[in-house]
């Protein structure tokens, strides 16, 4: 696997997950503003942009949130930018990405270019993005060899998902709204799974525990950390006696241990700080992965001039 191709696949994973998660988040947010009479829309909007790492330039309104997080191709956190990024990465690795998967990504991108997201109701647009991402992911699963390339795809998706879930949890913990945890659950697509497993214990503590530590739920942080570490392990040479050489595996393993083997106590304590640490860990892991696997892609330059 070429370093350059590995990097492209990793970023396809990240961009697709980013598009999907952003769509989930916006869907819940805009729904909330209508549904809940007591919510402070302005504060909720600011919080949302803060979670996504976007500095609002003008007044925060529904329209400006939609622009920054959905439609604006120049805004790095927007859905349009994420889909464009995924498509560009796929285009750079076309001989590796399966044809079906390429067509899935390409038709999605093409529809977005044609203004699909702006044409329909926001709720329909978000569902469409979620569905397209699901189709692409499933097509990849069904048509790509589950080899090194696949591991990079899964790794990228997992790192992005950890990062996004950490942001959501931090937002829920920082919010004063009584419905903040149920919002976070919905934004992760976890509400149904949570209700089924916890029945009536609808407390903040339970919800936080579910999003952080639930092993079977595929979007919980611990589950996603497991997936990421598994993908990293599969990229290492098979026989090895001592601990891993890979800094990224160490970082993510340590984060998982911090979560799972934390002294019993209030899980809600220090949550925003811990989540921002987790985001920093994701950033470091990203650097470590680049360093370990993608540096080969850096061009060697010739300084001699023609002989």
């Amino acid at each position: 696997m070429l370093s350059r191709i590995a990097e492209s696949l990793y970023w396809i994973g990240r961009y697709l997950e980013r598009a999907e998660d952003t769509a989930r988040l916006l869907d819940v947010q805009l729904h909330l503003a209508v549904e809940d009479p007591v919510v402070d829309e302005l504060a909720a909007g600011r919080l949302l942009l803060g979670v996504m790492g976007v500095e609002p330039t003008g007044p925060v309104t529904d329209a400006s949130i939609m622009q920054l997080l959905c439609h604006d191709p120049q805004s790095p956190s927007s859905i349009v930018a994420a889909i464009t990024g995924a498509r560009e990465s796929a285009r750079r690795s076309r001989e590796t990405v399966s044809t079906d998967m390429w067509e899935g990504i390409n038709t999605t991108w093409y529809a977005v270019q044609q203004g699909e997201l702006a044409r329909v109701r926001p709720a329909t647009a978000f569902r469409w993005v979620r569905e397209r991402c699901a189709i692409i992911t499933a097509t990849a699963d069904g048509t790509m060899s589950h080899d090194q390339g696949w591991s990079f795809l899964v790794l990228g998706r997992s790192v992005e998902r950890i990062d996004m879930t950490a942001r959501l949890v931090a937002a829920a913990a920082a919010s004063s709204s009584p419905t903040s945890w149920s919002t976070a659950l919905r934004a992760c697509g976890a509400h149904h799974a949570f209700v089924r497993s916890h029945h009536d214990q609808d407390s903040h503590r339970e919800a936080a525990e579910f999003l952080l530590l639930d092993r079977p739920f595929p979007r919980s942080i611990v589950h996603t950390l497991d997936t990421a570490i598994e993908a990293l392990e599969s990229l290492e040479p098979p026989e090895r006696r001592a601990a891993t050489e890979n800094e990224a595996t160490r970082l993510l393993g340590r984060a998982r241990a911090e979560l799972e083997y934390r002294m019993s106590g209030d899980i809600l304590m220090d949550l925003p700080e811990r989540m921002s640490d987790l985001q920093a860990t994701c950033g470091l892991a990203n650097v470590a992965i680049s360093h370990r696997f993608f540096e080969g892609a850096v061009a060697a330059e010739w300084h001699g001039g023609a002989l």
Binding site: L2, E103, G305
Partner: protein
């Protein structure tokens, strides 16, 4: 053959609407209506062109033999149906990303709904002529970078070769592995007013467009399945296998299982999709210059597991950018040390460095002589008559009548720099005159060749448009294989003669009909029958036979539907695109004499 001065009576046949309404679709002349004739009133301007679908108007406008079935089948569809299918063709390329880049913008490559058909007898002579040309050019390149016998024997003046900007002294004395320099050739052909195929130019550097040949076939099979069923068409999908076999056969000696890579300039290259398609279909890595590294005369590729050796590079990067050590020092697309590794015999660069001299249009004028000299054969495919501007007598003759000829730069590609005399303004002619006088070696002139026409759907109706043909030949050292068909490019503008995609050209699927004597392995195979539930019921559970009989009629219908589906989904290739180096050209034959 020509019906000079009379309006084309078969003009109506180009309008599908008329064809569909007419009952006797076999006779186009009967379908003419005054309205349609008025539409084609100006058609006389292209009267001298050879139409590949219809015999000349003077002969009654009959449909040529190879096209009868296409004519009937497409004619029997309603105009709306044909338009719907044409729309399908344009949509499918957008979805599959079959595009080419112009100035960084991706565009789908227009594919026309009417195929272009070449019968088997015509094709076998084209095939012969192409193989002959490639063999002669191989000998020529070997000679000029080696002993130079053609100079001492006076076949071609040495200055003609050494003054070519693509003559590359760096590779003098270098014999490539397997003795092959032209692994892939794309030789542009046109049909003149008599229907004779002529060579317009040679492309033995990095000819592109072959990906369209494969995607066009696949797309048109989906759009016109019933038309395909009527023909025995030689398949094109084996091209990547032939190319890979040829590349592997030319690996450096001593390498038993060579690693082949495809080298692309990158995603912004106009032919990027073609590079990706070929890499995918050959199962090779698609690398950029930055993925490669040369150490101690060996070439390696950077992978996540470290450096891995590379033995054959099918490069789609121009010589100039290939190796900053020897060519442009500021190139970011190449890899420093490639040429040295090739000289050390550790890597094969395909096509070889320095081939460009054979593409030079001044050298082109000597190719018939080169064929006679090296092969002791007469050329099968004639050239288009050409005046050499470097020759004083030719130059003076042409400068007097610039407005009647086509002037081309000798190293141009993509239709750039060409001036078509009859269509040029006074200022353009003056400008090119000054350029010729300043640098005669850089220019040639040709009579305006009227390219042949094939019906093409423009804006919902059928009109005549000029086409050329770029067939592809693959050389693995043990014989030249020619892909049956090739890329037919169409000049979509009315009366336009430049077919390059960068200048608004489209394409057609090109069908080479199988010789009736060929075995089924050489043609597109019919759909294979599939086992049905009835079969399995009958064999596994004998007692269920009565049920099977009951359902057999239903099963038969189902089986046929399955066959139909299979046929529609037939070809297995997908997507890609190509840049068209190469110059499509010319107009109005007979106006100018030979040189």
């Amino acid at each position: 053959m020509h019906a000079t001065g009379t309006p084309r009576r078969d003009a109506a046949a180009y309008r599908l609407g008329s064809v569909a309404r007419g009952k006797h679709v076999g006779n186009a002349a009967r379908l003419a209506s005054p309205l349609v004739s008025a539409v084609f009133g100006r058609y006389a301007a292209r009267e001298r062109a050879f139409d590949e679908m219809f015999e000349d108007a003077a002969a009654g406008g009959d449909v040529r033999a190879g096209y009868t079935s296409v004519y009937k089948r497409i004619g029997s569809l309603s105009p709306d149906e044909v338009r719907a299918r044409a729309d399908f063709l344009s949509r499918i390329y957008v979805e599959q990303g079959v595009t080419f880049d112009i100035g960084g913008e991706e565009r789908p490559f227009p594919l026309d709904i009417v195929p272009r058909i070449v019968d088997s007898a015509t094709w076998s002579s084209v095939e012969l002529g192409l193989a002959q040309r490639v063999r002669a050019l191989e000998r020529f390149l070997d000679d000029i970078y080696g002993p130079g016998d053609c100079f001492t024997d006076g076949v071609i003046p040495r200055p003609v070769v050494t003054s070519s900007p693509h003559f590359c002294r760096v590779v003098a004395g270098l014999t490539p592995p397997g003795g092959v320099r032209i692994h892939v050739a794309g030789i542009d052909l046109v049909r003149d007013s008599e229907g004779q195929f002529r060579v317009l130019e040679d492309n033995v550097r990095i000819p592109s467009g072959v990906s369209y040949v494969m995607t066009n076939r696949r797309a048109l099979t989906s759009a016109l399945p019933e038309v395909f069923a009527d023909h025995r068409i030689r398949p094109v999908r084996s091209y990547p296998q032939h190319l890979l076999a040829a590349l592997r056969a030319c690996a450096p000696s001593g390498v038993s299982d060579p690693t082949v890579v495809v080298m692309t300039p990158g995603v912004f290259n106009s032919a990027y999709f073609e590079h990706a398609l070929l890499a995918r279909m050959m199962g090779c890595r698609l690398v950029e210059g930055r993925d490669l590294v040369c150490q101690a005369g060996r070439v390696m590729v950077r992978t996540v597991m470290g450096l891995r050796p590379v033995h054959v590079i099918y490069r789609r990067v121009d010589d100039e950018f290939l190796d900053p050590v020897h060519f442009r020092g500021d190139s970011l697309l190449g890899c420093a040390g490639l040429v040295n590794a090739a000289r050390a015999g550790n890597v094969t660069i395909a096509n070889a460095v320095g081939n460009g001299v054979a593409d030079d249009k001044l050298v082109y004028t000597y190719v018939p002589d080169l064929i006679r000299y090296y092969l002791a054969e007469e050329p099968v495919l004639p050239n288009v008559d050409t005046w050499r501007m470097a020759d004083r007598a030719h130059r003076e003759e042409v400068l007097d009548r610039l407005d009647e000829v086509v002037v081309k730069p000798v190293d141009g590609s993509g239709g750039k720099g060409i001036v078509i005399g009859p269509a040029a303004t006074r200022a353009e002619l003056d400008l090119v005159r000054a350029k010729i006088v300043e640098h005669p070696r850089g220019w040639i002139a040709q009579p305006v060749v009227q390219l042949s026409t094939v019906p093409t759907m423009i804006g919902g109706s059928m009109v005549a448009r000029h086409v050329d043909l770029r067939p592809f030949a693959v050389n693995g050292g043990d014989g030249v294989w020619v892909l049956p068909g090739g890329l037919t490019r169409v000049a979509l503008g009315e009366g336009k003669l430049i077919v390059n995609s960068s200048q608004g050209g489209g394409s057609k699927d090109t069908w080479v009909l199988a010789d009736p004597a060929t075995t089924s392995a050489d043609v597109e195979p019919p759909p294979a029958p599939r086992p049905t539930p009835v079969d399995s019921l009958a064999t596994v559970h004998p007692r269920a036979r009565s049920i099977a009989v009951q359902h057999s009629e239903h099963a038969q219908v189902e089986q046929q539907q399955q066959q139909q589906q299979q046929q529609e989904q037939h070809a297995d290739e997908r997507s890609a695109a190509g840049r068209h180096t190469g110059v499509g050209l010319a107009t109005a034959a007979g106006k100018a004499g030979a040189c």
